[in-house]
């Protein structure tokens, strides 16, 4: 018997133009370059990149990856409603569903980790940084990549001159993720508000 392979499959999906593919690429790079694992990326070409549902499939594993396509994801990241409708069934029962809070209305059949990434990016002044905020959030709530690796990958993948801004966006998403986890933990312990 081969020992259990630690492999996680991710689908990042949303509108074309949201930086979905870049987010997938950074995720894979972080795993490969920062965390020294194997990773693959399959990105969708074609009409999606002009505005339809767009998708990046990432696999992160500590063994060589034989087959790069994802059927059932461990982590499904949705940044648009249409993408959610299209991919919502391609997630494992124990998988994580992560969405943009303002852009996706989930059907409520499973637990969701949501973040208003696009709104937060607008508040930061650049709507296009929503993907980096989302990446920070995914880093915080999942076990895909380490924070350090993700930061380094963001730093080396974004256009020159925008590193600082993107790292700030990453931090925003990451801290939101930590708060979210803390909130879930508190809620599970029955503490929702400040006054008992």
């Amino acid at each position: 018997m081969a020992r259990k392979i630690n492999k996680q499959e991710v689908i990042v999906t949303g509108f074309g133009g949201q930086g979905i593919v870049l987010a997938g690429k950074i995720l894979g790079m972080a795993a490969a370059l920062g965390d020294h694992k194997e990773s693959t990326l399959v990105q969708s070409y074609g009409p999606e990149s002009r505005g339809g549902a767009c998708c990046a499939q990432v696999i992160i594993s500590d063994r060589v990856i034989q087959y790069p396509y994802v059927n059932m994801a461990d982590v499904l990241v949705c940044m648009s409603q249409s993408a959610y409708e299209k991919y919502k069934d391609q997630i494992k029962p124990e998988g994580y569903l992560i969405t943009d809070k303002d852009l996706v209305k989930p059907d409520g059949r499973r637990e969701v980790f949501d973040i208003p990434a696009t709104r937060m990016a607008e508040e930061l002044g650049r709507k296009m940084m929503a993907n980096i905020i989302m990446l920070g959030f995914v880093t915080a709530v999942s076990t895909l990549v380490s924070e350090k690796a993700a930061r380094e990958a963001v730093n080396s993948s974004v256009p020159k001159g925008t590193e600082e801004m993107n790292l700030k966006a990453f931090t925003k998403g990451f801290e939101y993720g930590l708060s979210k986890l803390k909130g879930k933990e508190k809620k599970a312990a029955g503490k929702t508000g400040a006054i008992a």
Partner: protein, 550 residues
């Protein structure tokens, strides 16, 4: 607790008490009503009874006339015990005197208890003219009890030489560049006191002081009347910092014996209280009211500095709904909500704000030194406070007056904004239309000025509407540092409350406990109560009530 035990003066041993060796060292003040008990007292003397030598009797017309300030003043001046002795309830010649005395005694007792002096140091008793025997027993018993408790930890301020700065009016005029006044009068035109009808002009006041007759009565009164709210400074084209100029002038007047003592509201009770806290041997016991749900860490590096709210509540207990300790409790709950378990300082003292701004720099410095030393000894790195005045004083005035804290001072709002901005928290809907009463001290500090509004914007309320005068031109709540309270400040408060009603709001949100105390006082008007009445809550409490995890 060990520290507390160490510093409480040891009770003298019995023998020396009996031999009368140290008896004279004790000071027990006996406020004795002229009517019922005084007759009993004289009967004792007529019968040759030697009144214990430590008892200093003060004959008074009625116990109801002895205010909390007078009762407390005795302790400030070095009394070890205070007995207030009057007529039985119902036998009072003036009707309500005994009841008033009961209330005053109860409040003052709870305050000396908060100070850690022990409320047993104060007693109220009543005697009929023929109860001399009972009076005799009472006196002996009280003296015995006080001696068992030992000397009072208070160091009378009169026994300590004041620091004399030797500063002249000319130096202060130069410091604030008052000579650059262009006589434009913008200060007077914006001064809330002038606008509420008082013959008051910052511009004239400065030119009168420049002309040199700085001891004239009117000028002194005007110096003490200023609210130090700072609108004039905001407006001044020459950038003359009028509030700080006034503050330093008050210090000079105070040094020269022209202080505001006689005109201080509440009989100067609060100044007295704060001066008492300058005694190093005082170990306040100010946290015993703390609700059980609050978690603190006795070894933490983050200290929560509460402020004087417990004393205010005890003092204003009989007034409508003054409940400012809730702000402290809610601030602590919010820290707990974000997993911060702060340390509390058992022997926390007043920050000194009110002493400094009422002109008593000497005692302000004593408090500042005691506070910073104690905080530093605990190894604290960050001090968080929810009081705008504590924040202003510790972060700005301590360093300006040569006391380097050696720890970071942070306002609770800064902490909350930082934590809430991380996300994943939300606010339950609040079925209120709200308006916001600015705190003067917070408004004049750029780094926290916008925070209350930022936080309010996050709340989910029915409506938030600003009053006519808001932000930098906001109106003061009418008093500062327990000085200058008169008909004009009342008019100002009424005007402010009307502005709040005009916004169509049903809840006024404040950020300073004193704004609440002062505006609630104005609402107690017997003629306009129904018209003025409005619910008030501190922003901290509002956040604590509605915040929740997403």
């Amino acid at each position: 607790m060990t520290k507390r035990q160490q510093t409480i003066p040891e009770p003298r041993n019995r023998e020396s008490v009996e031999f009368g060796l140290i008896m004279e060292n004790y000071n027990i003040i006996l406020f004795l009503c002229n009517w019922g008990p005084h007759a009993a007292y004289q009967q004792l003397q007529d019968n040759g009874y030697q009144i214990p030598p430590e008892v200093k009797m003060v004959r008074i017309p009625c116990t109801g006339r002895i205010s909390k300030a007078l009762l407390f003043k005795a302790f400030e001046m070095g009394a070890d015990g205070v007995a207030i002795v009057g007529c039985n309830s119902g036998a009072c010649r003036y009707g309500s005197g005994t009841l008033t005395a009961e209330n005053n005694t109860e409040d003052t007792r709870s305050i000396i208890d908060l100070l850690g002096m022990g409320k047993e140091r104060m007693r109220l008793a009543t005697f009929l003219p023929d109860e001399s025997g009972a009076l005799k027993t009472f006196l002996a018993d009280f003296c015995e009890e006080i001696k068992a408790m030992g000397k009072s930890p208070v160091l009378p301020s009169a026994s300590r030489p004041p620091e004399t700065s030797g500063e002249s009016v000319r130096q202060i005029l130069a410091r604030y560049d008052a000579n650059s006044c262009q006589d434009c009068g913008k200060c007077t035109a914006s001064c809330p006191l002038a606008l509420s009808g008082k013959a008051y002009s910052p511009r004239n006041l400065v030119s009168d002081i420049i002309r040199g007759n700085d001891t004239a009565g009117k000028i002194n009164a005007d110096i003490h009347a200023c609210l130090t709210c700072g609108i004039c400074y905001e407006r001044c084209p020459s950038n003359v910092n009028f509030p700080e100029f006034i503050r330093d002038m008050r210090c000079i007047l105070n040094r020269d014996g022209e202080g505001s003592d006689r005109t201080q509201p509440h009989g100067g009770f609060f100044q007295s209280l704060m001066r008492t806290m300058t005694s190093p041997a005082i170990l306040p016991d100010r946290w015993k009211w703390l609700p059980e749900d609050i978690q603190t860490d006795p070894d933490g590096k983050i200290l929560f500095f509460g402020g004087c709210a417990p004393y205010f509540d005890a003092f204003f207990k009989k007034h409508q709904q003054v409940n400012t300790v809730d702000i402290i409790a809610d601030a602590l709950r919010l820290l707990n909500f974000f997993d911060v378990r702060p340390r509390l300082m058992e022997a926390e003292r007043c920050c000194g704000h009110d002493l400094l701004w009422s002109g008593d720099r000497t005692n302000f410095l004593r408090l500042a030194k005691l506070n910073t030393e104690m905080i530093r000894d605990l190894g604290i790195e960050t001090v968080i406070t929810a009081c705008p005045e504590c924040y202003h004083t510790m972060s700005l005035e301590y360093p300006k007056n040569g006391i380097q804290p050696g720890f970071t001072v942070m306002h609770l709002y800064t902490f909350l904004e930082h934590e809430i901005d991380k996300g994943a928290v939300t606010f339950k809907p609040l079925p209120h239309r709200i308006t916001y009463q600015d705190s003067c001290r917070m408004n004049r500090m750029e780094e926290i000025r916008d925070l209350p509004r930022k936080l309010i914007q996050r709340l989910s309320v029915e409506q938030f509407r600003e009053m006519k005068d808001s932000g930098l031109s906001a109106l003061c709540c009418g008093n500062c540092a327990w000085t200058g309270c008169d008909a004009y400040t009342k008019a100002l408060q009424v005007k402010r409350i009307r502005q709040a009603h005009d916004t169509g709001s049903d809840l006024m949100v404040t950020s300073c406990p004193k704004c609440q105390i002062h505006l609630r006082c104005a609402m107690e008007d017997p003629f306009q109560e129904a018209e003025l009445k409005m619910e008030m809550t501190d922003l901290t409490s509002l956040i604590a009530r509605t915040i929740c995890w997403e």
